[in-house]
């Protein structure tokens, strides 16, 4: 058992404080890099799916684990990201731009949905996001001219800088890279002023308000960040599915995300990715 003994704030903020951490994360990264060469294709594909869900649950973690707001409809943000990504790819937008814009669209919708969601207590957020999720699923099913309805929308093969990366291994590395970027970005966000404001809101809204945190603004910001990350995951998920249907983004996916976040441990960004998804995946697959 190791105890954290801090003598200044810089120690509290360091990412990898002990040599053993550096070794563990370095080895993990190395292992993930060589995995496609060792494992059969099927498992590489499954791992890719796992990374995508990891990204989405990281997004949800910002909201549930750090800001203490319940969302039961994050699959809707994934759906928004997935559909806008697929449509933009079809219109000839490059992959990186399209992914980022998809995340942005999802984040904007997150902002909009946050306004009714954060008005009062946590139960309202749960109900609003649940309702939003149902609405998105219905619209995706009904708006046939754009989304292809229940018959689906096929997704273009991923191309990165003119290079075809649609092979299982190529896509694996893309997802791994995005996961790593999101993970580092979120960890950094959480040790910033904004992250501390999120945690303050989770622990006590009244106290945070008293300390000068603009509670409403940070809650909406948390919704936006988390929806944006989920939109990003949705964009990648579109490639994994290859064929988008509204059923892929039903309430069950939202609930699975919530379960992953809760089982992984609320408020532990590093654990959610490493531990819980493997468990869930093992059970599901």
């Amino acid at each position: 058992m190791r105890f954290d003994y801090n003598t200044d704030y810089a120690q509290d903020r360091t990412l990898l404080r002990y040599p053993v951490d550096r070794w563990i994360y370095g080895l993990l990264m190395l292992a993930l890099l060589v995995v496609p060469a060792l494992l059969p294709r099927f498992y590489v594909g499954e791992l890719t799916y796992l990374f995508i869900v990891c990204i989405a649950s990281l997004g949800l973690m910002v909201l549930i684990g750090y800001t203490g707001q319940v969302s039961l409809g994050h699959a809707a943000f994934m759906a928004l990201g997935a559909y806008s990504h697929a449509l933009m790819l079809a219109a000839g937008v490059p992959l990186v731009v399209s992914l980022l814009v998809a995340a942005l669209i999802a984040a904007l919708c997150g902002c909009l949905i946050a306004i009714p969601a954060v008005r009062t207590t946590g139960l309202y957020a749960a109900m609003v996001t649940l309702a939003f999720s149902v609405i998105v699923e219905h619209v995706a099913g009904r708006w046939q001219s754009v989304t292809g309805g229940y018959s689906g929308l096929s997704v273009a093969r991923p191309k990165l800088f003119g290079l075809d990366v649609s092979s299982v291994t190529g896509f694996y590395y893309i997802c791994l890279a995005v996961l790593a970027i999101v993970l580092v970005a979120l960890i950094n966000l959480m040790r910033s002023r904004t992250g501390r404001a999120f945690v303050a809101i989770r622990d006590s809204e009244a106290a945070a308000y008293g300390l000068g945190v603009n509670v409403l603004r940070y809650k909406i910001l948390a919704f936006a960040v988390s929806a944006g990350v989920c939109g990003l995951a949705g964009g990648l998920f579109a490639h994994h599915l290859r064929h988008l249907t509204p059923e892929a983004f039903n309430l069950l996916l939202s609930m699975e995300l919530v379960l992953m976040v809760v089982i992984g441990g609320l408020g532990r960004v590093d654990r959610v990715s490493a531990r819980c998804d493997f468990c869930i995946q093992a059970v599901v697959a």
Binding site: V70, P116, A117, T121, G122, L130, A131, V134, I135, R142
Partner: protein, 294 residues
């Protein structure tokens, strides 16, 4: 009566019949919420389960409708009682999120249980009222709708008298206002909470048994709970009369958009109302002032 007016009346009556179901479901939710501060996400699955139980009594055990009806209500009330006393009581004092997760967990288990034991195919059962209609002037109303409205009305009145005139009912009101004070007055708060959940379960059963002949006995019946939540928010969260008014309104709004609104809007209008009400007037129609209940 002109044809258009007749059509409008027809739609509103259908809406009221559907809304009565939503009102019953919303009432079950709000009672459980007021007594235990838990929004029961498994309520819709209790409703769905009760439809299957009723189907079992009617089709497998060949019981007469009314007997099966009562038996289902008793079974579901018992289930509600057990759910509170054995499961929900363990998370008293935990943050709200725990209640959400726990009821969702129960919901998924019930859904899984039903789909494992009954399979995915849809079923139906007949009531003595199925397929019959009554003419009121130009308006044709199915007897089933009349039955639904009648039962909802009767149950609401019964509950009203129960909560205002009987000792147990008043005690329940007291404990939902202030558990500690009620406990100090010698009220057995724990048992009352279980009783409230039993009532809530019975309401779910009533709604389920009445709704299933209109739609089908199917797992997707649990979706009603989402519409009941819209009703709750519209009527004002935490208010029993609000739940009833909200339920009726949502039913009527849904039927009206089904006829006059664009194609497909009927399915989502309840949720749009939910979000709009929270964005514009989060207190709803009859809601109490929001504040942190400690």
């Amino acid at each position: 009566m002109s044809a258009e007016l007749a059509q409008l009346t027809q739609i509103v009556i259908n809406g009221i019949a559907l809304g009565s179901i939503y009102a019953l479901v919303a009432l079950g939710l709000v009672l459980a919420y007021k007594s235990t501060e838990v929004l029961n996400f498994a309520h819709g699955d209790l409703l769905m389960l009760s439809a299957f139980v009723a189907w079992g009594f009617i089709s497998l055990a060949a019981l007469p409708f009314w007997f099966a009806f009562l038996a289902t209500v008793v079974v579901m009330a018992t289930l509600g009682y057990v759910l509170e006393s054995q499961v929900m009581r363990r998370i008293v004092g935990q943050p709200q999120f725990a209640g959400v997760m726990l009821t969702l967990g129960v919901a998924f288990m019930l859904r899984g249980l039903v789909s494992m034991s009954f399979g995915p195919q849809e079923r139906k059962y007949d009531t003595p009222f199925s397929g019959r209609t009554t003419h009121l002037g130009n308006v044709v109303v199915s007897d089933l709708s009349l039955l639904i409205v009648a039962v909802a009305l009767l149950v609401t009145l019964l509950l009203y008298f129960f909560f205002t005139r009987t000792q147990v009912g008043v005690a329940i009101q007291a404990s939902s206002q202030n558990q500690l004070a009620a406990f100090l007055c010698g009220i057995r708060v724990k048992r009352l909470n279980s009783i409230v959940w039993a009532i809530s379960g019975a309401l779910a059963a009533l709604a389920g048994v009445l709704l299933a002949p209109v739609t089908l006995v199917d797992i997707s019946l649990w979706f009603v709970v989402l519409k009941a939540m819209a009703a709750l928010v519209l009527g004002g969260f935490g208010s029993a009369p609000g739940a009833i008014v909200g339920g009726l309104l949502i039913g009527v709004i849904e039927q009206l958009t089904g006829v006059y609104g664009p194609d497909g809007s009927k399915d989502i209008v309840a949720y749009v109302v939910l979000i709009a009400v929270l964005a514009i007037a989060p207190h709803g129609l009859l809601g109490e002032a929001h504040g942190r209940r400690v």
